[in-house]
Amino acid sequence: MSEGISQPDQPQTLEGHKGDKDLFSKFDDIIAMRQGLLDSGVEDPFNLVMEKVLSPTRAICNGRETILLGTYNYMGMTFDPDVVEAGKQALADFGSGTTGSRVLNGTYQGHKDVEEALKDFYDMDHAMVFSTGYQANLGIISTIAGKGDYIVLDIDSHASIWDGCAMGNAEVVPFKHNDIEAMEKRLRRIPGDAGKLVILEGVYSMLGDVAPLKEMIAVAKKYGAMVLVDEAHSMGFIGENGRGVVESAGVIDDVDFIIGTFSKSVGTVGGFCVSNHPKFEIMRLVCRPYVFTASLPPSVVATACTSIRKLMHGSNKRAHLWENSKNLHKGLKDLGFQLGTEEPQSAIIAVIMPDLQQGAAMWEALIQNGLYVNLARPPATPANMTLLRCSLCAEHSEEEVGEILEIFEKSGKAVGII
């Protein structure tokens, strides 16, 4: 689950009303809900403009200097001098864009280089780069699991996973979030000769909780299923080499596909799939969201390549990010906030709000006090919770985390939540 503002990750059919004026009538309820929130006078949480970005952790937002605590820029690579320099060089040498698909005129040396960097980073045989992480999930899932195949997936999966399932026309069987037994029951009932794909995420971005991958992948393998793990929120940070929860759980050799993104720890834009499957390269010809779109600009793949290679040696930054996560979690808990997980499990700390109204008020108090967090609201959230999602950065200093806690205390008291 993730960025859905007014819709859940799992796609839904909106019903129009009788006597509809036009095709937009089905959005009337959403328009009214949004208007209701704005009429209550809060600053629009979904219309924030960053006028100036000062660093991975600071920006001028709506005219105020603001600490950024909701950008998924986990490793703070966006202003790394080597990364920025690589991008400038590629822009000068290769131009602003490729104007073509990867399979035609859109594969430059930089695309090959970033795929090599990914193979080295994950120590895997194959790497395929897509224009976004959304397209990586859409493409790989819809291509490998087709009509008659079964996909077993967590109910809290990201929108790109749901959309990939729908596009491929496979039988889709969801199970309760992180419930190993529910997953096993479903796998057991699938016809033995059917193709099976289990889809999991390392870190779930709503609550920042981690999946029990060791147990789940063992179950998937017992039933002969292939396994795809989306490690969007763990790359560069979790696991000894930053390969994700699959690495920290010791099961990286048992997964068939890892999906990732350049839009979080890597600090640019793009998506990828890495795999050891001997036939993996055929994906480049049969995967429509790979073929029928233009490839990433040369400057983007150059920044991604440099960033990924630097992340391989990021153990000090990883250690500092863990400290930040632990400090923020403990501090918020001590202040009396209700959090998404008992212990910090990732670089996401979700603060649970009593309801949408108070959540929106708290978000506004934080932004006015100079702190940006991510507001997540029903229906995009599990159990219809309203959450303030905080994502930490390795570039947040210890003092900054202290400052963040002060802003939370001041705002929480003003709104009456603590």
Binding site: P8, Q10, Q12, Y150, I155, N169, E171, V172, V173, P174, F175, K176, A182, K185, R186, R189, I190, P379, P382, A383, N384
Partner: protein, 80 residues
């Protein structure tokens, strides 16, 4: 199990999910009458699946709008 037995069993399972005590007939709609949201649907479907040891994929769920259609589908699946 015949259709009547399946019907009785599903009614029993539906009971705790029917928060407003709507009278369930063959034509009762899960979305409009019972107002099930996606999480409720998942829990409800999981209980039926466990009871009858079947799978009702989301693709199959998409075809089922009304209570009677669910009883028909489950009756058929558990007989196969």
């Amino acid at each position: 199990m015949d259709r009547a037995e399946v019907d009785a069993k599903i009614r029993e399972i539906a009971e705790p999910f029917n928060k407003k005590g709507v009278t369930i007939t063959e034509d009762t709609s899960f979305q409009n009458d019972l107002e099930f949201d996606s999480l409720t649907v998942m829990d409800f479907v999981a209980e039926i699946e466990d009871e009858f040891d079947i799978i009702i994929s989301m693709n199959q769920q998409a075809e089922i709008e009304k209570y009677g259609q669910l009883v028909d589908a489950v009756t058929k699946m558990q007989a196969d």
